[in-house]
Amino acid sequence: MGAVMVVINSGNDIEWRRRTTKKQIGIWLGWLVGISIVLFAWSVISEKTVWFFVQDAPRQAADIGSRMIPPKWSYITELLVPVWDTINIATLGTIIAMTIAVPVAFCAARNTTPHNSVRAIALFIIVSSRSVNSLIWALMLVFILGPGVLAGTIAIGLRSIGFCAKLLYESIEEIDESQVEAVKATGASNIQQMTYGILPQVLPTIAGVGIYRWDINIRESTILGLVGAGGIGLQLNGSINTLAWTQVSTILLVILVTVFISEWVSAKVRGAII
């Protein structure tokens, strides 16, 4: 039964403790084991590290840093198209993801699913989409579709379905059922109950999740070029491989500005919705 508390009543003295002694010792043991594991892992990592290289790190970082300055501003003209691609990958990928995620979420939520077997399928879609990183989706899709923006867009879309559907179905499960009950009592059909009783309650979440995921996807799509799936990552990879550090710094600055703008846009939109 819930929490176990201890009340010791001896004569006119009453004592209260949050936990039983046995439980308290158990908790201490848990901490002991946890900390030991962290210390052990630390020592393993330490043994496997070549400290000679690490000691060198500040100098190396300073070296690369100095090679990055000043950024090669003229290179920006070559980045405009890749940045545009990156934004398109994120935006289209998010739209694809949301179109699929909304029905999947309704199938996955306990209170709206048509059947338990449908729910199992929906949950499977969510888990499998979430368990694969978008970079890995992109790697596979580049093999299937060939390199380019299309592979990147679909990779972003596939990765985002699970994320969006999970947040959505949790919000569907938390709606106020009495509003749905009231709509039901008027003689409304199932789908009318959905659009009148449930949808208005989850619409802010749908919009919020979409914007949030778009924001994340802008960031994710900047690296997809590393595997040839389009976007600015291609230039980044090329510049690092050719040791063109002034180009790398330019690209990093462009990414920073793009992310900053997307952050600003999503904050504005979110504010407008709620």
């Binding site: 009495s178 009592a185 003689g187 009318q192 208005p200």
Partner: protein, 261 residues
Amino acid sequence: MLKLSALTKRYDTGDLALNQVDLEIPDAQVLALIGPSGAGKSTLIRCVNRLVEPTSGSATLNDINLTKLSSRGLRKSRRKMGMIFQEYALVERLTVMENVLSGRLGYVGFWRSYFRKFPKDDIKEAFRLLDRVGLLEMADKRADELSGGQRQRVGICRALIQNPDLLLVDEPTASLDPKTSRQIMRLINELCSERGLTAIINIHDVLLAQMFAQRIVGLANGEVVYDGKPEGLTPEVLTQIYGEEDWTATIEKVDEEDEEE
């Protein structure tokens, strides 16, 4: 006429919420259902429109056995039963007008309702009802901007636009202050007599029940223990419904109330 025969509800948890309830409510009668929390009042009215499925027994409205209906027939019959809720149960993010019009969902097809293309007559009736309850200028406000009393009025409009034969009213005043409670009860009462509606009103407030209902039914542990006139609620009867308590204050107040009116 609404007729309940041997209506019984046992929840999955094993709790017997209603035990063989027999009740006959003639047309145009306003009946107050009183009883302690957990007596089965909410379950009773929800078994009528089958928001809760009764375990056994039957509920018959105008010769239609509601308990035997298919889901299609049930939807059709629900259109004739308006329901008013304790916490109003308005769709908070829709406008007042949308909430009122949602009372017509049983009559309007999906796409029309989705695009808010309700028939002209429905819209006219919605405005008329909002005017009747004094909320005409609120039509375009979102439901969550309204006060409790205003929300309950919208809830009443939503129930009435169904053009019901029967009103199922679940604790309409439990979330309202005493003055608003009286106004809401008076409004429900007036509307019932204007339209000749039958109503079952679940209510905690014995005083309000006595003021506004023609007939009182007392429910205790899922069984009817009192069925009669409001004046018949003596301390002995109240003890039978609610358990032992000093009821003289409640009764005295009722007498004062009667003198006022």
